[in-house]
């Protein structure tokens, strides 16, 4: 108990020093941890206890990935013990169960201690005897009982599916504690030097997906199941659209590349791709049935204006898009057959800057886009019901927002560090973090929650 009092005192000390970040002012979090890291706020506190040492090399990766996933969910005040990896001998298992049998640990976890630390939940990891299954146990500290036991098996540390399997466990922890779906098992597509890359939402496991010689990739996007991606291959003024299986990498062309086709977007049912096509009289939005590869339908007829960058509402009943019908590009909305076109994001004629790159949130309630403000670009979010837009960012140039499946995180490109890099903002807390340090990146696209089995055909 002496140890417990000490922790509580430290927690109190640190508590006043770090206010909840709610504005776009966050620099890179250096992760300096003194004593107990404690981020005060109204979010539930969560303690992630170290996995047993018997796990071997998997142990560190497992803990680090879970910690980061839960941290990046921005739904918890994570409580950690300083240097707990190096002082494993006195780690919470021995603290709570001096005779250290993992199965016993569940029963006698020191709930009052963790409650005093501000924890609402604790997560313990124990390996089953003579089995490679782990039991991830979610404890409800306040109720003083086990909330749920999640059995989990992981592929080998070096196997390609390892990280995604851990991400899925993080999402199950979020589900077990808060009853909502997490975003850990997701990936983000982005472009750099004309190539298409993919990265886990926590910034690890980068992989080149498409590298097409002198053709550069543009406008990547996901289908609504996370099975397929679509993108433009651009060369010499031509743009050809492709659909590719996220798992196997097999792909097929859906347009012939004779014209400039770009900004492809899957319909929620996955049967249609809407896209922009630039022809002599201007750029307009078309829909193509990709199941039968037929029935090209023109949705807008601009003649003296451009219409581009379509994004479906998740119910498939509306398409938001960009139009220059009033001069500068602004965000409009229409029915999926092209009828009922109207202004979506309000603007002051001749005053409001150009607005581009809309992305409709998975919950249907918001449309993120970027707008020119004072000679640079800033990310805005439009409330789809009352049609009011609010500015999310203000530091540097911020553009091309893309929604996470939880409809509260956005990835976007920002040059706030001096280079164009990929950043993530949580619009609930205002927390902003860099996703990866690679510079010169463009056009990110956040996946939905990825399916357990990857599709192999495009």
């Amino acid at each position: 108990m002496r140890w417990g009092r000490c922790c509580v005192a430290l927690a109190g000390l640190v508590a006043v020093s770090r206010p909840l970040v709610a504005q776009d002012t966050a620099a890179i979090d250096r992760g300096v941890r003194i004593g107990i890291t404690y981020q005060p706020g109204v979010r539930p506190g969560l303690v992630l206890l170290p996995p047993p040492t018997t796990l071997g090399p998997v142990r560190d990766s497992l803990r680090a990935i879970l910690w980061r996933d839960l941290d990046y969910s921005d739904r918890y005040e994570l409580i950690s013990f300083a240097g707990s990896d190096s002082i494993q001998v006195s780690a919470p298992h021995s603290l709570s169960t001096p005779h250290a049998r993992p199965s016993v640990a569940l029963a006698v976890l020191n709930y009052p201690l963790y409650r005093a630390l501000g924890a609402d939940f604790a997560v313990t990891i124990a390996s089953r005897r003579s089995s490679d299954t782990l039991d991830i146990t979610v404890h409800d500290i306040v109720a003083g009982s086990v909330r749920r036991v999640l059995p989990a098996r992981f592929p080998a540390l070096t196997a390609p599916g390892f990280r995604l399997a851990v991400h899925r466990v993080a999402d199950r922890i979020v589900e077990a504690t808060l009853g909502v779906r997490g975003i850990a098992a997701t990936r983000i597509l982005y472009l750099a030097s004309g190539k298409l890359y993919r990265i886990d939402q926590d910034g690890a496991d980068m992989k080149t997906l498409v590298s097409s010689g002198d053709r550069s990739i543009l406008s990547p996007g996901w289908d609504h199941e996370g099975n397929r991606i679509t993108y433009t291959e651009f060369w010499s003024g031509h743009g050809q659209l492709f659909v590719q299986a996220a798992g196997s990498g097999k792909r097929r062309a859906v347009t012939d590349g004779k014209t400039l086709d770009f900004t492809p977007e899957f319909s929620p049912d996955g049967k249609t791709i809407v896209f922009s096509r630039a022809i002599e009289e201007g750029t307009d939005i078309y829909a193509l049935n990709i199941g039968d590869n037929c029935c090209l339908q023109r949705l807008t007829v601009g003649r003296f204006s451009d219409n581009l960058s379509p994004t479906y509402s998740p119910d498939g009943q509306r398409i938001a898009f960009v139009s220059t019908r009033a001069g500068a590009p602004q965000v409009y909305v229409m029915a999926p057959d092209g009828t009922d076109q109207q202004l979506f994001a309000p603007f002051d004629y001749g005053v409001t800057g150009a607005s581009n790159a809309p992305d409709w949130s998975p919950d249907g309630q918001s449309v993120a886009f970027h707008r020119e403000v004072g000679g640079t670009l800033q990310v805005f979010v439009l409330d789809a019901r009352n049609r009011t837009a609010r500015q999310l960012t203000s530091v540097g140039r911020n553009e091309d927002p893309t929604w996470a499946p939880d409809s509260r995180h956005l990835a976007f490109i920002s040059d706030r560090s001096g280079y164009r890099q990929l950043w993530v903002i949580d619009i609930e807390t205002g927390r902003i973090r860099p996703l990866l340090l690679q510079s010169g990146v463009r056009l990110p696209a956040w996946s939905p929650l990825l399916p357990e089995t990857e599709a192999s055909t495009p």
Binding site: F234, T263, S276, D306, N356, A357, D400
Partner: protein, 201 residues
Amino acid sequence: MKRPLLLAVGLVVAGAACGGNKPAPAPAPQASANADSAAAAKARQDSIAAAEARAREDSERMARQRSADSLAALGHTTEAVRSMLGTLIHFDFDKSNIRSGDASILDQKIQILQANPNVRIEIDGSCDERGSVEYNLALGNRRANAAKQYLVTHGIEAGRIDTKSYGEERPLDPAHNEQAWAQNRRDEFQIIAGGDELKQP
């Protein structure tokens, strides 16, 4: 674009080399007259034959020279016209209207296209990096077609002009400042057919 240009330059160089490296013409006619006045019949016969041979050689060489010169001249004209046709036009930020100063550049292109009815061109529209990546593809398309529209309304057949958009994907100057951006907001003009020999308008 690249190969015909190189070919034309090659011809110019070849023509110059042909003219420059030959020795100065021998003073054949005068020599022949002197020999005649010496009145040595046999020697005269020989001399005439030799002179004729030299004259033949000379005229052949002159013919070669003339043809090389005219090819070189033609190359120079083609090059000059090609360069005029390739002059860039530029745009204001987020605009696709032809600037008044650039209209005269397009007027010159109209004359060239009228003087060379077999020439077909491609207009490539580009943007600076300040706008949005995807919107810039639409804007580049509009810029290329603004120039095409200008040429067509002044009598050039629409079928002779292709247009392409490069958005912000092909900057001339990769720097991130106003000077570079102004350079990059442009239309480029390329000859895609009938450009081997160009006439001055």
